[in-house]
Amino acid sequence: MSIPSQTLTRRSFGKLAAAMTIIGGGAALGGCSAGGGRPSPNTPLCIMAINHVWSQAIRKHMAEFEERIGRRVSMSLLTSDQLANSYNVKLNASATDIDVMMVRALQEQLLFAHNGWLADLTDRVEGDAGYQWADFLKAPRERSVTGRMVLSVPVVTERPVLYYRKDLGAAPATLDELMETALPLADRRGNFFGFVGRGQRSGAVSMWSSFLYSFGGDFTGQGRSAIARPESIAAYEYYGRLLERAGPPGATNMSLEQAMPIFAQGKAAFYVDADAIYTNFLDPKISTVQETVGFAPFPAGPAGARPFNIPSWSLAISAFSLLRDEAWQFVRWASSPEMVKRLQAEGIPGARQSAWSDPATLASFPADLARTMQTQAQIGLGIDRPDVLQVGRARDIVGRPLVAGILGQPVAPVAREADAEFAEFLVRDNRHREG
């Protein structure tokens, strides 16, 4: 049996190799300016954003922007984890196919700035009188600056709100009152809870920060760990006791996705979470409390009421973008005084003072929520987590005593152990910052 042999001449070998190169190269090129060369007029402006009401609302107005710049816009909407991982993968490879980035200024900005991934926007925001940079609320504006450079512009802000059931009584004004009211209402056997809130080690830290501040504690003090100070331990113990005794089972596995439905289903009397999620309780499809839900300011602790007022989502421009001018035009348009007012009137709290001062923008919110948000926007602190490069690791460390409290374990020894670890971590983090 003989097999007919196929021969390949030098010319056909060359053709085969060229074809393979074209196929391989073609597969690597996407729609955005991924090639690294000069982008063509047909190259779309690429925006990577969180799947959030803000992104969905801005997308509805996108045709207006596309017409203005004469360029197509490609907007990818991802979950926060997917978004963070995409940035890690793409920007580690200096990819040019991201122009505008939606970032969590408090979670990622320091690290991204350290990596050189964000473009400096200082001259653009300060040099443009019509943009009115000073109109942004002080706390979120300050968080946009890293190393004296403006690296992001806040577009969505958040404050904690005490969601409560109006049919069960008035909203407590202090944390002591909250504890006194929530404990007797809890009935685990009857599947009803006095209080519900986030309980995951890392995920709960941001919401718990308002409890910490209101007890007079902090994550750090003069560059050192402050989580084992008496005020901080008291805040850990308070939150742990509240969730352990008045909260639902399995609270340490709860983030927003688990805690919010419990209140929406009418199974909890009180719930502390961000004001941005209020629509979940007014939607009859998912809520049984739309008639009974009330909105109150964060209760006062021994140090008064000290809620956060943070830029939960901001816009930044990738340092590797080949369309930086167009990217800035988008940021300017999406965060302009007019657009912020427009979106706030649709129920998305922005970061501009002019919008907050305009009663028309607050008409879409329930009256008690609008009052609460307005008050907390003025008094809120601009941070809800440790101000470090490695926020993820820091949250894991400072969240451990919180978990111990929720599990009913003694908090003080765990807090002291976490304090030592956090102190060591801060030294390393500072070294990285200086490096």
Binding site: M20, H114, N191, G250, T252, G392
Partner: protein, 314 residues
């Protein structure tokens, strides 16, 4: 059918025939051209990442992979191997999860395969139903079980309450999480073991079992002394394949317990730990060292499982 073997063509150059010589060269090029895609794939997708990860493991890479970094020798490996807070507990959980899940899957898979060995009415339906968990993505399975086992709104506690049992924390509990995750893995992967072993059983000759039956051997004796030894190679392959997969489990754990395998790291396996070091902490040097150690451990497990009694002397 008789096969006629022809002698190989002479490799010596053919003097005075340049055309034949160019054919010979072209054939050699064709061979490489055909191999090139596979070689490029293996090089780019397997060898390069492995070498890159190994190299990163010896550096203090932090923040960005392409940022300035220094070589720190074996420091990352030392840090990982002396870390009793996260690394060793993660190793322990990885081993526990793998042994527990694979053991249960093997026993249940074998039992189901033995039951389904003989033809019965509705066998095709049963096999189709068995395949459903295999076809579902682990993330979807994780979310499904998360909803079923939700301590407050899930159906599991609702059912328990109807028979007077107090609500359980399930995946919200530090002590119940890992066993429950093992059971979910068993629920998903037992059908694969069943199908593999069923395929193995269908190739076994019937005569030895019939002979044993004639000699008076009972059902258990026939299974223990006839079927099981003959099924050995299939069983070993199925266990090796499933163990490698179970060691690498990530999606189910991450979908149900989130970063760090839960608030007390109760379901943090080596894979989840390495992922956290990379994407949550951006400690690429240490993460790479952990991944290299993990890869070596998997290779070690495979070698161990492949060393069956009697193979050494063979």
């Amino acid at each position: 059918m008789a096969i006629t073997q022809t002698s190989a063509p002479a490799r010596a150059p053919l003097p005075g025939k340049p055309r034949a010589r160019s054919f010979e060269q072209a054939n050699r090029r064709l061979k490489w051209a055909m191999l090139a895609p596979s070689l490029a794939f293996v090089g780019l997708m397997i060898i390069f990442p492995l070498v890159f990860t190994l190299n990163l493991g010896f550096t203090d890479a932090f923040g960005a992979v392409n940022a300035d970094k220094d070589y720190v020798g074996l420091r990352n490996f030392g840090d990982a191997l002396t870390d009793s807070r996260r690394f060793w507990p993660a190793v322990q959980r990885t081993v526990l999860f793998t042994i527990g899940a694979v053991l249960l899957e093997t026993v249940l898979g074998l039992a189901l395969a033995m039951l389904m060995r003989k033809p019965f009415r509705g066998a095709r339906w049963v096999r189709t139903v068995l395949i459903i968990p295999l076809l579902t993505t682990p993330v979807a399975i994780g979310i499904l079980w998360l909803l079923i086992l939700d301590p407050t709104n899930g159906i599991a506690n609702h059912l328990l309450a109807s028979v007077g049992i107090l609500p359980q924390e399930f995946l919200g509990s530090v002590s119940q999480s890992l066993p429950i995750l093992m059971l979910i893995d068993v629920w998903q992967w037992t059908p694969m073991m069943t199908l593999l072993l069923l395929a193995g059983l269908s190739t076994l000759p019937a005569e030895p079992e019939e002979a044993a039956h004639v000699d008076g051997a009972g059902v258990w004796q026939r299974f223990r002394y006839v079927v099981l030894p003959m099924l050995g190679p299939t069983l070993a392959t199925a266990v090796v394949l499933r163990s490698i997969d179970a060691l690498k489990t990530f999606d189910l754990l991450y979908a149900t317990k989130g970063p760090g395998g839960g608030s007390s790291f109760e379901a943090e396996t080596l894979n989840v730990y390495a992922y956290g070091l990379t994407f949550d902490y951006q400690e690429y040097g240490l993460a790479s060292a952990v991944l290299v150690l993990f890869t070596l451990a998997i290779i070690g497990v495979v070698i161990l499982l492949r060393r069956r009694p009697g193979r050494r002397s063979a």
